[in-house]
Symmetry: C2
Subunit: 200 residues, 2 copies
Amino acid sequence: MAKQGRRTEVLEAAIRLFSARGYHGTSVREIADALGMGSGSIYAHIESKEDLLFEVVDQAAERFVTAVRPIAGGPGPAAGKLRQALIAHAEVVAASRDAATVFLHEWKALSPERRAAVAAKRDAYEELYAGIIRQGVAEGRFRAVDEKFARLLVLSAGNWLYEWYDPAGPMGPAEVAERFADLILQGLQRKETGRGRPSV
Amino acid sequence: MAKQGRRTEVLEAAIRLFSARGYHGTSVREIADALGMGSGSIYAHIESKEDLLFEVVDQAAERFVTAVRPIAGGPGPAAGKLRQALIAHAEVVAASRDAATVFLHEWKALSPERRAAVAAKRDAYEELYAGIIRQGVAEGRFRAVDEKFARLLVLSAGNWLYEWYDPAGPMGPAEVAERFADLILQGLQRKETGRGRPSV
DNA sequence: CCTACCGATCGGTAGG
DNA sequence: CCTACCGATCGGTAGG
């Protein structure tokens, strides 16, 4: 418990520092300093700096997949699933914003094999959204849009959250997600404007 | 011309390397190597590594603002401007993807003063989109959505482009931008589905 | 633009 | 978890 707890503290310090300064911009000494340790002592808890990065990135990827998978595979119409998936995504960002930042920003610093492992998880995550969109089109509730672009629009909004969302701010993650979901589902343009084709 | 051309080569090498490995992950020696120079010789062209980063980031920011400002300030309905702005944005990414990556990824590595200068340009850029959206709402062509979220949705799609868009791929930047614009303007959901409120 | 070099810092190890 | 230390590499400078 003590050793396990200390290891968690090392992870948490790494998340904070990697998020703020980047992987290459953070030294092992800085992580050790944050815990009041000597710079060599940290190797009692980790094997290498890159192991630490992988653990942070992989855990973050896992959190997203775990949160959204049951929604995508669950019952109900696609629009509701899309809304719930976005809420779940935003909640993960709100709860682990620094880890999400490291996941999205620093995976390139991993070795090729580990990068591939993370890419596989990210692909699996994106496929959850693709499935929801295909379902909506198949149900006839969504327009027959290109699935790839609909998925990219949703993921762009979700993935960009870490850049601007402040968990300490006035708006909760669910509220933020609902607004994006409304916009994505209903569009920016008024429906009754113009007759037939949209004005531009 | 010779010296000026060489300096441009230094910038271009820095863009490529900063984009691929990050600012802190790239050494001055690697940039010099890419140009077949000794590691000290690069200081005949630049004053410091951070100066180099600032120049790359600032130039990229300038490209986006320059491309979109005339559209936002020009004539015509908001929907058309939004479409044109997204196309212009995608064209900048297509033409300078690595520079856009450095701009969006590495600005945190700048000194506080320079970071503030870049943030000001980024804010000005975002304001261009805010203006277009306000215009659309004022015209009655856009739904009375929260301007902030509409702007964030557009910018998220645009800013995430550098992560997945391949300029060498089959789809041109204008085509990509048009698809996003259609989705954002019209929404994912069919209009005639359900009566009254959307199904979820 | 080169050669030669600077002090500082890097990730990591040894031995306790 | 500490102290002491390793070779390698860092950004940058001097003198030509």
